[in-house]
Each structure stands twice: as structure tokens, then as C-alpha cells.
């Protein structure tokens, strides 16, 4: 309000708004007798924490006091409309150094849950995970493997999967042997104001529909920001991701992922990597100091037997990015030769030039119309043409820009009002 001389009408409006807010809260199932369950450090912390997470009723807050909690099993929450909050990611630390069971630090399988102000250290598996959750918010958290980048670290720091309306805000992830902040097979996703470093991949959006990844810092990983679509999964055909206003800089930690995982193939020194997917817009990012490439657009190169899968990146827009020094020492096989051919350094933006693939069971490769709009360059096009072709057959050409398709930017992701209210100021 700009004036305190509230007229009767203003007051009525205020009261109505308040009523609406109360009713809206009721509509999502938050009862009026919500309580706060306090848990502090000390003996039997494992049992007290897990009991609190089981006892919580919709509307409750589980408040974990400052302190270090040495836990031997993962924790889980299966009650909807609950807030789990600590005293800050450096003050409330759930330490899993002696973990004996369960893959996750904290697993959430219920909806309308906010997790905030908590740190997790050294989980044997993933840090914070949600599976099958709607309106899941992870705010001001930290997950760290304190021994630095190691193959034996857990795969994901933050791991919402099979979820809808996912908010990740002000999170720090360090040391994941796969991805610091990974969102898989989810819809309506926002990853913002977060920092991912010393992971194999910093941030990854995989098999998702509608994601905004913005204002994050992804640095000192093997790869900065990945947008992937993989075959053979329940949610497939990833599309509509905007990657903007991020700093994707100095991703130089040698890839330490265990073999077999797709990220183990991400070349060390990759900035932004788009594999398969459609309607991906990469803009207004600062991308600098990534030795293999600034932006890579590539097809899924393995064989697949999913008849509905499209392995090509298409409808891709790259514009308005600040591209610093990238592609100066490519680490992928054939990269050095390629750089030599191109005069010592790879162009900052890199497309494999694949426009055709053979669907499973089909006799011949099918050509696709791949529409690109890459305004930032120079761009190297490997002209590999057919999916699965050996990079040794590349016929690279370099142009200032590539493709002039008019591509409509995906609409901004809008999360439900109630979720944003619960999560607090962004």
C-alpha cells in the first residue's frame, strides 16, 4: 500500500484478499491447527528425525535445529503439505558419512512440500530427492561431498524426478559423481540462483517438459549445463527449456563419472550441452573458459529401440550470449585434430550436423527438418548428417552464425501461486 489513509473500500479489498488467501490455503489441504515439530541434535537423532517426518500432519512444519546430525540411514517424508526447515545450510547439517542403508539423504514422495535451509554432507547416494511429487520446492540448501570430486561420491546432489512444479532456488551442490542439480522426467521446472561446482555435470535437465534454468553459476564441473533427452524412459520427448542469464564458466574438472553413465561421456570443459530435445533456447548467458566447447548441440549417438524417440536436437535457438574463450583445448576424441583443421581452436558453438536417423525397425534413415537459429558464433558444423555416424567422418565447416529459423521462445514457466507463497520471497 502506498498510503495509510486506507479508504473503506481499500480496507474491504484487504479483508477480501486475506479471506481469499485463507480459503486458498484451506483448498490445498492446509488445516488451521498446523503445528511445528522441533527436532534437535543429540542421541537417537536418526529415530527422532524420522519419527518427526512420519508424525507430521498436513500443514505442519518440521524444524531441525542448528547442529550436526550423524545419520546411518536415509530419511524420508511421505506426508503432503509439510515444510521441513533447518537453521541454514551451514548450520543444520545432516551428515551421512556413516550411512549404512538407503540411497538418499532425504527422499520426498509427497506433494506440496518445501525443504529449506538444510545442508547434507556425504550421502552414499543422492542428497535431496523427490519422486512423484507435485509442487516440490528446494530452497537454500547445500549438498556437498567433502572429499572433493571422486568417482565414489553419490550421483546427484538435488534429484527431483517424475515430479511436477519443481522449484530449486538458492541451492549449492558440490562433488556429485553425476550431476549437482539434476531434474529428470519432470514438468514445469525452475532452477534459479543456484551454484553447482566440482560435479561431473553442474546442472542437468533430462527428459523434462518446460524448464527455466536461469541466474545460476555453474563452474569447475566437467560440463556446465546439460539439456538431455534419453530413449526408453516413461517420460520421453523432452522439450521447451530456456537456459538464460547463467554464468557457465571455467568448467575444467576432469570427468570423474563412473563408466556406463551417460555423463561419463561429457567432454571435460563443456559449457552448455544440448542432446536431442526440441525448443531449447540458450540466451544471455556468460559462457567462458570451457576448453572443449562453449555450446554443443549433438544427437544421441547410441543405438536405441524406442520407436517414439527422436535423437536430434531441433528447434534450437542460441543468441545474445557472452561467449568468452571456449573450445581452445577440446578433450573429446578427435577434438585436437578438429581444432588443428580449424586453425588451432574450435569455434565456441558446435553442432554435429545430424539431420537424419533410422527409427527402430525401419529400413532406411529418415531425414528431419532441423530448424536452428544460432546467432552467436562462430559455429562449427561437423556435417555428420546421419545419427550414429563416426566423428571421424566429420566435414567441418565454420560460419559466423547458422540457421535463420524464426523460433518462438517457450513461455516462461509459471509455478502455482500457493507454491511460491509457501517458498517465500524468491
Amino acid at each position: 500500500m502506498t498510503t495509510d489513509r486506507a479508504t473503506g473500500e481499500n480496507l474491504a479489498t484487504k479483508i477480501t484478499s486475506a479471506l481469499v488467501a485463507v480459503l486458498a490455503a484451506g483448498a490445498v489441504g492446509a488445516p488451521t491447527c498446523a503445528k511445528t515439530i522441533e527436532v534437535g541434535p543429540g542421541p537417537a537423532a536418526q529415530e527422532r528425525l524420522q519419527t518427526a517426518l512420519i508424525d507430521a500432519k498436513p500443514g505442519d512444519v518440521v524444524r531441525i535445529a542448528a547442529g550436526r546430525y550423524d545419520l546411518v540411514d536415509g530419511l524420508s517424508l511421505d506426508v503432503s503439505d509439510v515444510t521441513v526447515e533447518g537453521a541454514g545450510p551451514e548450520r543444520t547439517v545432516l551428515a551421512f558419512d556413516r550411512q549404512k542403508g538407503e540411497g538418499e539423504g532425504l527422499l520426498i514422495t509427497s506433494s506440496r512440500v518445501l525443504v529449506k535451509n538444510i545442508g547434507i554432507e556425504n550421502p552414499k547416494g543422492d542428497g535431496f530427492k523427490s519422486n512423484g511429487a507435485d509442487q516440490i520446492s528446494f530452497v537454500n540448501l547445500k549438498v556437498e561431498w567433502t572429499g572433493g570430486p571422486r568417482e565414489t561420491n553419490g550421483p546427484y546432489g538435488l534429484y527431483p524426478v517424475n515430479s511436477t512444479n519443481v522449484l530449486i532456488d538458492r541451492v549449492v551442490a558440490r562433488g556429485a559423481s553425476d550431476t549437482g542439480i539434476y531434474v529428470g522426467q519432470s514438468r514445469n521446472v525452475v532452477v534459479e540462483n543456484s551454484r553447482a561446482e566440482f560435479n561431473v555435470a553442474g546442472i542437468e535437465i533430462e527428459n523434462c517438459y518446460n524448464a527455466d534454468v536461469h541466474d545460476n553459476i555453474s563452474t569447475r564441473n566437467a560440463g556446465g549445463i546439460l539439456v538431455f533427452d534419453l530413449p526408453g524412459l516413461p517420460q520421453m520427448g523432452g522439450h521447451s527449456t530456456r537456459v538464460y542469464r547463467n554464468q557457465v564458466v571455467n568448467n575444467d574438472t576432469p570427468n570423474f563419472a563412473p563408466k556406463g553413465n551417460i555423463v561419463s561421456k561429457v567432454p571435460t570443459g563443456t559449457g552448455v550441452l544440448v542432446m536431442a530435445n526440441r525448443d531449447i533456447h540458450v540466451f544471455d548467458n556468460a559462457i567462458d573458459g570451457n576448453a572443449s566447447a562453449g555450446v554443443m548441440l549433438i544427437s544421441y549417438a547410441e543405438s536405441f529401440d524406442d520407436p517414439h524417440y527422436n535423437p536430434l536436437p531441433r528447434e534450437i535457438s542460441v543468441h545474445g550470449n557472452h561467449l568468452g574463450r571456449n573450445g581452445f583445448a577440446p578433450t573429446f576424441p578427435g577434438g585436437a585434430d578438429l581444432a588443428k583443421v580449424l586453425g588451432g581452436t574450435l569455434a565456441p558453438v558446435f553442432w554435429d550436423g545430424v539431420t537424419a536417423f533410422t527409427p527402430p525397425g525401419a529400413a532406411a534413415a529418415r531425414s528431419e527438418t532441423v530448424r536452428l537459429s544460432i546467432a552467436d558464433g562462430p559455429v562449427v558444423d561437423l556435417n555428420l548428417v546421419t545419427q550414429g555416424a563416426s566423428p571421424l567422418g566429420a566435414r567441418p565447416t565454420v560460419t559466423r552464425a547458422l540457421g535463420e529459423a524464426t523460433l518462438v521462445e517457450p513461455a516462461p514457466v509459471r509455478l502455482p501461486e500457493a507454491q511460491l507463497r509457501r517458498a517465500g520471497p524468491q
Binding site: Q46, E47, R48, Q50, T51, L53, I54, V72, D73, S76, L77, D78, Q99, K100, G101, E102, G103, L107, T109, P123, K124, G125, D126, N131, G132, E151, T152, N153, G154, P155, Y156, Y159, V161, N162, S177, D178, Y182, G184, Q185, L230, G232, L233, P234, Q235, P258, K259, G260, N261, I262, E302, D305
Partner: protein, 370 residues
């Protein structure tokens, strides 16, 4: 101990023994259906004795499965409590259709020596899965050291268990009692808690009863406990994982179904992996053959695919079954030691697959009987 105190103990023991033999009130159905779980297992009166060795009445029905879940070698006593005047409805696939009030009761126990499995048996926990109006609810009761009561334990715990194994070797395990969320993680199907074990195909087996051998499904039908079931010979049957007279493929598929298929199921918690290990699955790739991992992390063990046909050493499934390391081991819950016999079976199943085999999956789908 003074002589007087000793006499008091003896007297108390005699009273308890008398109480155990006296005719008892029936199972407390209201208690089972109440939202507030009872603090001890005894409160439900599912058993006529405090030690839970004797089911209370003929509506607490013992049963057994062709292929059970492996739980660190625990022996399991299984009972179905069926409220009076209710019946179970037959279903060909999935768990049978149980009426409200039905309760599955499963006790996990360890004998001191697996070469004498009937002697010195220690109960560790008894799990209930109660069918309430709003759905199935899991509860876990942990047995006291003196074995006279089992107390509600919702947050899970660890219990040190020592025994001599079947080969005569001493073993110590850090047995994991699950918390109620973990119960739900395995029992969740399409978002609702559901029974896993009592499917027609897994109950379809001969059992020894006081009056001789009988097929479990046929007997339940005859006693009026089960309705709508065909003759057992026409019902699907899951192979016994440990019956050497059955084909390796069927045994291994049964083992994977029971130990993995509740989660690795298109409607289960691990659906996001794209790996489906149910008995019904027919797609080779979904069953793991040549399938690349999605979110396995170090669980891949540096291997490329879930199953490399013909090569168990190159198969992630065998690698994860051989691990006891959290974050690597599978199943994630309910196992802290390697099931050597189960692992050997799955390895044999992978080894006998021909690489480049394009015949499709082993023919062990539902309805197949051998």
C-alpha cells in the same frame, strides 16, 4: 534371587501359562481398523500366545509363497487374517482382492543355526499390512530380547543378529527394520500401498496341512475363504526360485519379479529407470538386456548395460546384487548381506542368454506353466 522372589516368578509363569491356554477373545478387528495403531502386537490378539507362535482361531490362516522376497536370510511366518464372513476375491494378475479388515501378518525370524531351522528361533520383527477403508496401512512391531512382546516401531531401527549359516559358518548381521515410509516405498503401486506377495501365481503351490498335502488356492476355495478362483491347474503359477527341477529362466524371472518387480514396475517407485523386472514384462530391453543405466551413478560399477547377454560379469544387475554398499546395492531396502544363492541364479540366467539373441524374452509370462 531370594527364594520368595523365585517363587513369585514361578507363580507368575504358571499364571501366564494358564492365561495362554484359556479360551481367548477373537482377533480385535476394531483395533486393526482404528487409525491409532496399537502399541504392541499382542493388542490385536492375532495370536493366542504372547510369543506369537499360535494363530488365534481359524480366520488367521498360515500361507506360503513359491518365491519369497530375500530378507537377509530371515525365516518368515506368514498369515492372512480374514474377518469372519468375508472372502478374498480371486484375481489372475496382481495381488488377490482382499476385503477391508483383511490383514497380512509376516514375522521375520532367525534360528541360532540354519542347519536346525526349527530350533532356538528368535523373532526379530512382525509386519502387518492392514486393509483399512482408506487403503492398506503398514505397521512394524519389533520383538523384545526376551521374546515376550513386540512393540510398535515406526521410525525403523537396526538389530544385531548372529546365527550359524547353512554351511556352518558364524554370521553377524546388522539387520534393518524398515520405517513405515520404507514399507510404502516397496508396497506402492500406482500411488497406493498394496500387498506384493499374495498373488495367485505365487500362492499356487502345494502345502503340507495336518491332514495331508493340498494346493493352497484349491484349499482356500474349498474352505470358502476364496471366491472366483479356477482350479489351481488352470491358474498361473510362479516358478519356485530354488527348485532345481525347473528351468533357470523361469526361476530367475520369478526371483527378479519378487525381489525387484514391485519397484522396477511401470507403476512402481523405480519406474523412472525404465527397467522393468516384473514377471509380466516381455520387452527385452525393458528387462535390462542391452539397456543403459539412467541414474545409477556409481551403481553402474563402470559397466555399460543392465544385462549383457551371456556375460554376468559385464551386467549391472549382477554387480548391484553382489554389493552391500549403500548407493550401490539393490534392492536398496531390506538387504544388508549378499544373497549368494539368488545371485548365482541370476548370474546363471544371464550366462545362458545368447548374445545377440533376438528371440525375445524367455517364455515365462503369466499363464505359462511347466
Amino acid at each position: 534371587m531370594t527364594r520368595a522372589a523365585l517363587a513369585a516368578v514361578v507363580l507368575a509363569g504358571a499364571l501366564l501359562a494358564t492365561a495362554a491356554r484359556a479360551p481367548q477373545s477373537p482377533v480385535d478387528e476394531a483395533r486393526l481398523l482404528s487409525d491409532e495403531p496399537a502399541p504392541t502386537l499382542g493388542d490385536y490378539r492375532l495370536f493366542s500366545d504372547a510369543a506369537a507362535r499360535h494363530p488365534n482361531g481359524e480366520r488367521v490362516i498360515p500361507y506360503d509363497l513359491n518365491t519369497p522376497l530375500f530378507s537377509d536370510y530371515a525365516l518368515k511366518d506368514r498369515y492372512l487374517f480374514l474377518p469372519p464372513r468375508t472372502k478374498v476375491r480371486y484375481r489372475d494378475t496382481g495381488a488377490l482382492d482382499f476385503p477391508v479388515g483383511a490383514t497380512l501378518v509376516k514375522t521375520f525370524a532367525f534360528p541360532a543355526d540354519f542347519r536346525k531351522p526349527g530350533e532356538k528361533v528368535r523373532f526379530v520383527e512382525t509386519r502387518l499390512l492392514i486393509h483399512r477403508k482408506a487403503g492398506w496401512v503398514p505397521l512394524v512391531y519389533v520383538w523384545s530380547d526376551n521374546q515376550n512382546r513386540a512393540v510398535l516401531q515406526r521410525a525403523g531401527t537396526r538389530v544385531a543378529v548372529a546365527f550359524t549359516d547353512a554351511a556352518g559358518e558364524p554370521r553377524r548381521i546388522d539387520y534393518q527394520v524398515p520405517n513405515t515410509n520404507q514399507c510404502k516405498q516397496c508396497h506402492e503401486l500406482a500411488g497406493a500401498t498394496s500387498p506384493i506377495g499374495p498373488k495367485a501365481r505365487n500362492l499356487n503351490r502345494a502345502q503340507t496341512y495336518p491332514l495331508g498335502r493340498d494346493n493352497q488356492l484349491d484349499r482356500w476355495s474349498r474352505l470358502g475363504l476364496l471366491t472366483g478362483a479356477p482350479e489351481s491347474s488352470a491358474a498361473p503359477r510362479l516358478p519356485r526360485w530354488d527348485d532345481p527341477t525347473e528351468a533357470i529362466e523361469g526361476r530367475a524371472r520369478a526371483y527378479l519379479d519378487v525381489n525387484c518387480g514391485h519397484c522396477h514396475n511401470p507403476q512402481g517407485m523405480a519406474s523412472n529407470s525404465g527397467l522393468t523386472l516384473t514377471f509380466e514384462e516381455t520387452n527385452r530391453s525393458a528387462l535390462g538386456v542391452g539397456k543403459r543405466p539412467v541414474a545409477a551413478g556409481r551403481g553402474s560399477g563402470g559397466l555399460e548395460v543392465s544385462i549383457d547377454a551371456g556375460h554376468p560379469d559385464r551386467s549391472i544387475i549382477a554387480f548391484r546384487m553382489a554389493s552391500t554398499e549403500p548407493g550401490v546395492l539393490m534392492p536398496q531396502i531390506g538387504r544388508t548381506v549378499v544373497h549368494a544363492e539368488g545371485l548365482a541364479l541370476v548370474r546363471a540366467y544371464i550366462a545362458q542368454m545368447r548374445s545377440g539373441d533376438t528371440r525375445g524374452p524367455p517364455r515365462t509370462g503369466p499363464g505359462h506353466s511347466d
